[in-house]
């Protein structure tokens, strides 16, 4: 018998804690308490990440041998994730209606959180996969929480793609593991190069992670799910959960180059296409969702290009996007024009950062990302600021138009402060991490050329925005590709007409046979016939014996 575990229990506690909170609402009386505990759930993770994700642990008996450890990229994203979840959790705790639904929400919130944290902490593919499944599937409950038609429809698409993604991922992982004969992520990753089905495995991994990461054309769930989910849910979905796909790619996609081009192309398609498509949306959350697809597209490009700044970029985007979604919620809850203006201001600053206004965290992230990706992609990244500005500006307009709900919450200010803090961190944290995460000199962001390179696309974007405001932009439902796909026609295919069972035993021929037997039997019953046959048989036997002997 193995020892129960070896190593430091800290990573395990990070995962266990949200799960424990998640179990609390099983007891109906504790549901409200549990909801209030939501913001606390990611705090151990935050602390762990801030401490630099020290220590690793192995549980040999758990599942197929659980190993937890976090690399530098993972640690970075772990912290970001914890932060986004904490703020969103607080928002949720404040705004969520009490009751049974809230209990369910709490439970799955925590499960999703644990999964989300798990993908950063997992060091073996099984744990990774388990965490990934948890974050994918449990998030469905966040999507459908409101039980509106739109939410349920979005949930259906979401769960379909999530399950497909899981399946693809599992298959991809198996291909790697079969070659590696080991379950460690690093080993498996290396094994893809030599695996007989390596390319297929990598393709499946890209698809599996791509679904999560909103990679075009597998992104369709995202613009449906994010607007449909409650604000807190949207925030974590867009800010944190999509990054699970990203970390998967970072951790598992091998060094080989064949797949990179694919990611770059799809990423670019998403980065520009989704941003532009966002202009066809009226719901600010839908616009934000498309913006997420766009930003994730950029990240995919970076992954494809082998950029070192992926995690850094994702860190910023996660926090900024989380804050933006929460802003939408705050806007809906804003009761005074002052509050509305404050929200708009907050959102605007986050938008500027995402768009890459020089000296913001977003700009730093872009700078870091551009490093070492080549001129073409570098230009593309720069250009992406145009579309980002465009779509997020559009978002601000939509946000401003958002009608307020009459609901009131007591801690509006507190919440606003927290969100503002998140946004501020989005702007500021890249600065703090710059030295450790990026190889560029400290003064690089301040160079005029750099600043200019950040500014002109934004200006271009603003011009475009002004133009776009003049145009009569179409108003499409979210979901782009999906809307134009004849999905309804798929159902009958699954309901093939199948014959009734027991066809083997269809009676008619049997009855006919039996009837014939009965008639023959009656014929045989005739003594002259039977008797002649009998005497004939005697002679026949005699003849047989005679001829043989």
């Amino acid at each position: 018998m193995n020892a129960l575990y070896s190593g430091s229990l800290a990573p395990f506690a990070v995962l266990l804690w949200p799960l424990l909170i998640g179990v609390v609402p099983v007891v109906p009386r504790w549901r409200d308490t549990a909801l209030r505990l939501l913001p606390l759930a990611p705090l151990p993770a935050l602390a762990f990440a801030m401490a630099g994700a020290p220590g690793a642990v192995v549980f040999p008996d758990l599942m197929l041998g659980v190993e937890l450890a976090a690399g530098p990229d993972s640690a970075l994203l772990l912290g970001m994730t914890a932060l986004v979840w904490a703020v969103a959790g607080w928002y949720g705790a404040q705004t969520m209606a009490r009751g049974r639904e809230a209990g369910i929400f709490t439970g799955f919130w925590c499960l999703t959180l644990a999964g989300n944290l798990g993908v950063y902490l997992a060091a073996d593919i099984i744990t990774f996969y388990v965490a990934f499944a948890a974050v994918s599937l449990a998030a469905w409950f966040l999507v459908v929480h409101d039980r509106t038609k739109a939410a349920l429809g979005a949930g259906r698409v979401y769960i379909t793609l999530a399950v497909l993604g899981e399946a693809a991922l599992l298959t991809g992982l198996m291909i790697g593991a079969a070659q590696a004969e080991d379950l460690q992520i690093a080993t498996v990753r290396a094994a893809f190069t030599d695996a007989p089905l390596g390319p297929l495995g990598v393709g499946l991994l890209i698809a599996g992670f791509g679904i999560k990461a909103g990679m075009v054309p597998l992104h369709v769930w995202l613009p449906l799910a994010h607007p449909a989910a409650p604000v807190a849910g949207s925030a974590v979905l867009s800010g944190a959960i999509v990054k699970a796909g990203l970390i998967g790619m970072l951790l598992l996609l091998p060094e080989a180059t064949g797949w990179r081009m694919v990611l770059v192309v799809l990423g670019l398609l998403g980065a520009f296409g989704a941003a532009l498509w966002g202009l066809t949306q009226r719901n600010p959350k839908a616009v934000l969702a498309y913006s997420t697809v766009s930003q994730m597209g950029l990240l995919l490009v970076l992954v494809g290009a082998g950029s070192q700044g992926v995690a850094y970029f994702a860190l910023h985007h996660g926090m900024a996007k989380g804050a933006l979604f929460l802003c939408v919620g705050m806007m809906m809850l804003a009761t005074s024009p002052l509050q509305r203006r404050a929200v708009l201001g907050l959102a605007g600053s986050a938008v500027l950062s995402v768009a890459g206004l020089p000296l913001t965290g977003g700009a730093l992230a872009k700078l870091a990302a551009k490093e070492g990706v080549g001129d073409m992609l570098s230009l593309a990244l720069t250009l992406s600021s145009v579309t980002t500005t465009l779509v997020l500006g559009w978002f601000l307009f939509r946000l401003a138009d958002l009608p307020a709900k009459p609901a009131q919450i007591p801690q509006w200010r507190g919440l606003f402060a927290a969100i503002a803090g998140l946004a501020a961190l989005a702007l500021a944290l890249p600065w703090l991490l710059w030295p450790g995460a990026v190889a560029l000199p400290r003064g690089y962001p301040f160079q005029p050329a750099t600043m200019l390179e950040g500014l002109w696309p934004m200006l271009l974007g603003l011009v475009a925005l002004a133009l776009a405001r003049r145009l009569a932009l179409p108003d499409y439902p979210p979901g782009d590709v999906l809307v134009f796909l004849p999905t309804q026609k798929l159902r009958p295919v699954l309901q093939l007409p199948v014959g009734r069972q027991g066809r083997l035993y269809r009676k008619r021929p049997v009855l006919r046979l039996l009837l014939m037997c009965k008639l023959a039997e009656r014929w045989l019953l005739h003594w002259p016939i039977a008797g002649s046959a009998l005497m004939g048989a005697a002679l026949a036997f005699a003849a047989m014996v005679w001829f043989a002997v």
């Binding site: 193995n2 996969y129 039980r147 769960i159």
Partner: protein, 487 residues
Amino acid sequence: MTTALPVLLLMTSLLPAGVTFFLAQDSHALRNALQLGGAVLKLALIIWMLFAVADGAAYEAEFPLAPGLVVLLRVDALALLFISLSATLWFLTTIYAIAYFGTKAELSRFFGFFSLCVAATTGLALSGSLISFFIFFELLTLSTWPLVAHKQDKPSLRAARVYFAYALPGSAALLWAIIWLESATGPVLFTEPPDLSGLDPAALRAIFALFIIGVGVKAGLVPLHGWLPAAMAAPAPVSALLHAVAVVKAGAFGVVRVVYDVFGAENMTALGVGVPLAIVASFTIIWGSVRALQQDEIKKRLAFSTVSQVSYIVLGAALASPLAMIGGLVHLIHQGLMKITLFFCAGIFDERAGVKRIDGLNGMGAQMPWTSACFSIGALGMIGLPPLAGFVSKFYLGLGALEAGAPWVLAVLLASTFLNAAYFLPILYRLWFLPLASGAKGDDRAPGLVVPAVVTAAATVGVGMLAASPISPLGWATLIVTQGYGP
């Protein structure tokens, strides 16, 4: 001791069976005590043996009937794997059944055959030779028939008829195969692979096909699966037993025995029969799922799901690689746990809320939280949601397929996962998310029914969570494969 133990193991269910038949209808306490006592005793014996066998001990008992016709009971690791599943689930199903039936009529008959069925399964597991395997295989057919027909209404009788109509040709094929083989090799013991050199490959292929048809009927291989959905007319404990413990498992177990202990992986590969078998299994996996998708009745859907799931085991055996073998074997246990949970729950839904059809489940999650939760766990496990039981089997099967150089199996697994999700998730959705239909009500304040379900659901989680531990089913399956079939 070494000869007495297998016999004792058999007796723990055979004796209660014999006595129960003659008990008066209303002596509930005595009957229940007998049933549970036997089950507990058997569990205790098995636990005792688990440790002994893990240390390499083997128990054997032999009863010659006629020359060549020898009943050999032998406890080896593979037998113990199957038998511990059946013993555990028997115990739980007994509790469940006692609660399910309460004081209804014909219980002595029911429990008599119920125990007999388990005795047959035990014998099947312990069989050390082909012919004893066949004998218990048939005993199983016979003792299950009254259980399927138990309700004695039209659908039940039809189901029983269909069951027989499939099972008996199957056993004819099996007997045919056994005798054909043994006429060339002499009696086949599982401990020593027979010398197949006396038969030409064509004959061997035919024998293999006959074997697979024979055991495949029970395992529900398409197109031999028609009886299984029909058998849903039986009472819930029977369905549970049929699907999780006894009949289909016996078939799957038979495939494993045939593939590994009769033919051997090398021979199978040399004959080129593994791939066709894998194709059949794959087709079954897909077809069963597609059909499940079309069902509106809970139990029917579960039945087709069984058709699909059991073929994982067959697939594992057919792929003939150690990892696939582990995956198949461990699925033997895992599928049992998950499917019995589902059937327990389906029975509870029927019994406590009168719900038979899927659309009646709307909103039951709130009314019957424990049942619904167990059902959900079982369903998610079936889909292969990590870290539940089904995931572990699927993972190993996938690895095994790659190891065996049959990557197309991955596509099958993938499709199956998706189809599983397609037919289970809507149920969960209805349970938890749709509003309760007006007038519908239910509760799960029936500990005798709910506790077994909770236990198996917990086990579904547990065997997945603790898969790597040496005492888990996975650990045991690994032990079997490395000890017995490893290179």
